[in-house]
Amino acid sequence: MTPLTFYLLCGVGLFGMGLFAFLTVAHLLRKVLALNVLGAGVFMVLIAVAHPDRSSLQPASPDPIPHALVLTGIVVAVSATALALALTCQYYAVTGRTDLPEDSPGSERPGP
């Protein structure tokens, strides 16, 4: 296992942790955090994949396109997180809840 394969596997692991938390956690703030962890995993894979020679860590010029994609992705992720947090705040202000109601037919939805 070279450092780069380690980075790749860590990225996959972060993605999995984020996805699992996103699916199982009810609190909306935690869901937003989970999405960010998931995104960090994707970024990590993209950064590691850009290195042209995975078996050594010799300095080599990486493929700039994945790096540029990550740079773009970070800014978009920050904006999306801010929007999600703003919506969560407003949802809390309106309903007083921090989790989404369950979708079950027949049951009355809590809320205003």
């Binding site: 920050v78 801010a82 202000a93 989790d99």
Partner: protein
Amino acid sequence: MNANPSANPRLGGATRTLLLVLMLGLLYLLAVVVLMIPERPLYLADDSRLSVVDERVIAESGVGNPVTAVLLNFRAYDTLLELAVLVLAVIGVQAAGAVVVPRNSKNGWQDNRLLQAALAIIVPVSIVVAGDLLWMGADHPGGAFQAGAVLSGAGIMLILAGRLNHSFLNDWRYRVANIAGVAVFVMVGLLVMTVGEKFLEYPGGYAKALILAIETAAMGSVAVVFVFLFDAVAGPLASARQEDRQ
């Protein structure tokens, strides 16, 4: 915000275990696939620009840093849309009504003289560092987004210290800075069309100057947008936490 911070109580133990098993399977598949990605990018055609940026091509781009060359020349469209996303996020946050939540302006930091004195050093240094990052971005790691992030850090400190408040939202300079990145980008793109180039294809020799103009505007946009987003989101979150404590 006082709801149950632990796992979703409505998710039964069996469902959870099944989900965990499925996730581990998915992770295994993902790990296998990720490790199968070829080390050297596949060449899609004879033109290597499709996947890898050649060093000779970078020399034509007007900047020496390949990442900056990709961001502002070869894939300038991506960056233009990214700046549009920033404006959209601002509109979205404002539409979500986060700004109208009254903000508790007294947070105890206004009277901290050490912080106020430190700001007198930190803010100017941040501006210099941002300018340096912007300029260095041409040939080294750095660029508009890193510089904008540093500037927004200074702005967020000013907000936390009570030196900057909501009134900046009504300032025309804030509004101009907000859209400056997208506006300058589009204007440069259209301007080069008047001399016979395609949209966002810089005429030879002018690439560096045009990229620098776009980056300067983008830095300003990133800085004010991040400051706004932080202010709009952190204010309500802090007041919600204070409500919970009471």
